[in-house]
């Protein structure tokens, strides 16, 4: 009975994922995916940033603390950054953030970094859909119900 209820709850769970997309590559890929009429999971709320390196740690933390179930950061492939090296710095920061979450035992799977170029509409749809599915399986962000923070 309880299992059934839990399943029901899970079915009703509509994850909220915030995606920080780089203006030059991934945001264009999102556009391409849309205009190619690909099916994209509606869980993702897109925030356009000029570069993946614009996403500082506090932005990600704020997003999680505000109750987002997942955070996706996506930008140009290494070597293709519009500004030269922004994505390399983004990658270091991401590794650091991920490690801190792991180290504290927080669910670091809720955070993801991907490289998606402007031509990869397909890949954009794939990444968003698979990440949304993963978050759906993880369930809601426990912070949402906790007032002791």
């Amino acid at each position: 009975m309880q299992e059934k209820m839990e399943n029901q709850e899970l079915d009703q769970f509509k994850p909220k994922i915030v995606g920080f997309l780089c203006n030059w590559c991934t945001y264009a890929a999102a556009d391409l995916a849309g205009s190619s009429k690909m099916e994209i999971d509606p869980a993702l709320t897109v925030i356009r940033v000029m570069c993946s390196s614009r996403v500082d740690h506090n932005l990600v933390l704020t997003t999680f603390f505000s109750g987002a179930d997942g955070v996706l950061i996506a930008g140009c492939h290494p070597g293709d950054c519009h500004y030269g090296a922004g994505n390399y710095y983004a990658r270091r920061r991401y590794a650091l953030l991920k490690k801190v979450m792991e180290s504290l035992g927080l669910e670091s799977e809720r955070l993801k970094l991907s490289w998606i170029s402007a031509a990869e509409g397909n890949r954009y749809a794939e990444v968003v859909n698979s990440f949304s599915e993963k978050i759906r399986q993880l369930g809601p962000n426990p912070i949402n119900k906790m007032s002791g923070l």
């Binding site: 740690h57 506090n58 933390l61 704020t62 603390f65 505000s66 109750g67 290494p78 070597g79 090296a85 390399y88 710095y89 990658r91 270091r92 920061r93 991401y94 590794a95 650091l96 953030l97 991920k98 490690k99 801190v100 792991e102 180290s103 504290l104 035992g105 927080l106 970094l113 991907s114 490289w115 426990p142 912070i143 949402n144 119900k145 906790m146 007032s147 002791g148 923070l149």
Partner: protein, 365 residues
């Protein structure tokens, strides 16, 4: 490397060396711990007159403030100065120098193999010579003293990594009656010329510190096993930091937190009515002051990889949160992914300021 051996207690021997440096004009000032003979309280002093050296206690097991942090305020120095720092204070100072909060220029660094410092509670309740003697017995025998800081007990970097001069204390059984001063650099040899007996050519004897190193390693494992119930997780993190009053004392005393205006104290974190309304709607209750946990996790991301584990933050915490233990553990893990050791080498860049083209590919898909 060469060594000077003196037939007197370590602290006395070092004091004489400081006197020689100041008296001969090789340095124009000495920076060291002092003890006020009347009140018995400790402080850090910058001393320019030889007479001022009388109250100096360069080897006392006390950390009133992280001296590496304090040293920033007058380094780079226009004239040469000799500074006595504990190994973690020296590493902290190097981390600060990397952040342009000081420079090693014109500085002669003197450090010691360190048996840890006593907790602040212990220090302010008064240290008589018996207490110091008890501490020294442990230190000279290569043992952990029970009243030292938790992070000191678990510290593995107690041999200074890059001091010009090292005073041997840990495991040095005769340190109470003899003083062994290692001159590690050319600068040190130059400075010590004309002081004491002729130095003997000899490398640092690592066998002295091996005993304490293995005891500390075991203690560290125990400490990390206890931090955040040993397993972490959101509940354990809330349990640990839930007591936080939001005083930000830990970041004030942190030698690595150098920002004049901390992001967490800026307007970015002034919450307005809509924020509270949203929180209440979502959670049905609100913790005040808000953002305390955000502060700790945020700070961990900002500086943990540079944490030298001095333990100052735990010592000042009014809520007795084991801040330093958590930061030391997390910091070790974050530093490890960048193969970074804080304070090891001034040429080693801060991890988030540099990158390699091929790295962390396993983190990304």
């Amino acid at each position: 490397m060469s060594r000077i051996d003196l037939q007197k207690a370590s602290s006395k021997g070092l004091k004489e060396l400081l006197g020689h440096l100041l008296g001969s004009g090789k340095v124009s000032a000495v920076f060291s711990l002092r003890k006020d003979p009347e009140t018995g309280s400790y402080d850090l002093g910058l001393i320019t007159e030889e007479a001022g050296l009388e109250t100096v206690k360069p080897l006392a097991p006390v950390m009133i403030a992280n001296a590496g942090q304090v040293l920033s305020s007058f380094a780079p120095s226009a004239e040469p100065i000799a500074v006595v720092l504990k190994p973690c204070e020296l590493r902290a100072f190097i981390e600060r120098a990397k952040r342009e909060q000081g420079s090693l220029e014109n500085i002669l660094t003197i450090s010691m193999t360190c048996g840890g410092v006593l907790t602040l509670d212990r220090v302010v309740s008064g240290l008589d010579s018996d207490k110091i003697g008890d501490y020294e017995n442990h230190c000279f025998a290569g043992d952990i003293h029970s009243e030292t800081r938790e992070t000191c007990k678990a510290c593995e970097y107690f041999v200074p990594m890059n001091a010009d001069i090292t005073v041997s204390m840990v495991g040095q059984k005769d340190a109470g009656t003899k003083c062994h001063i290692y001159l590690n650099t050319d600068l040190a040899k130059e400075m010590a010329k004309g002081f004491g007996p002729d130095p003997v050519e000899e490398d640092f004897d690592n066998s002295l510190v091996e005993g304490l190193a293995s005891k500390r390693a075991a203690e560290k494992e125990k400490l990390y096993g206890a931090v955040m119930s040993g397993k972490g997780g959101l509940d354990a993190v809330i349990d640990t930091f839930g007591k936080c009053l939001g005083c930000h004392g830990c970041s004030r005393v942190c030698p690595i937190c150098y920002c004049m205006i901390c992001d967490f104290e800026s307007r970015n974190f002034d919450n307005d009515m809509p924020y509270f309304e949203k929180e209440l709607e979502q959670k049905g209750a609100l913790r005040l002051p808000p953002d305390t946990m955000f502060f700790h996790i945020g700070r961990m991301i900002h500086m943990s990889f540079s944490c030298v584990g001095c333990g100052q933050c735990s010592d000042v915490c009014p809520a007795d949160i084991p801040v330093a233990s958590v930061f030391k553990k997390v910091g070790e893990e974050t530093a490890a992914i960048f193969e970074y050791v804080p304070g090891r080498d001034i040429e080693e860049a801060i991890p988030v300021m540099v990158f390699k083209e091929e790295e962390f590919t396993e983190f990304i898909d």
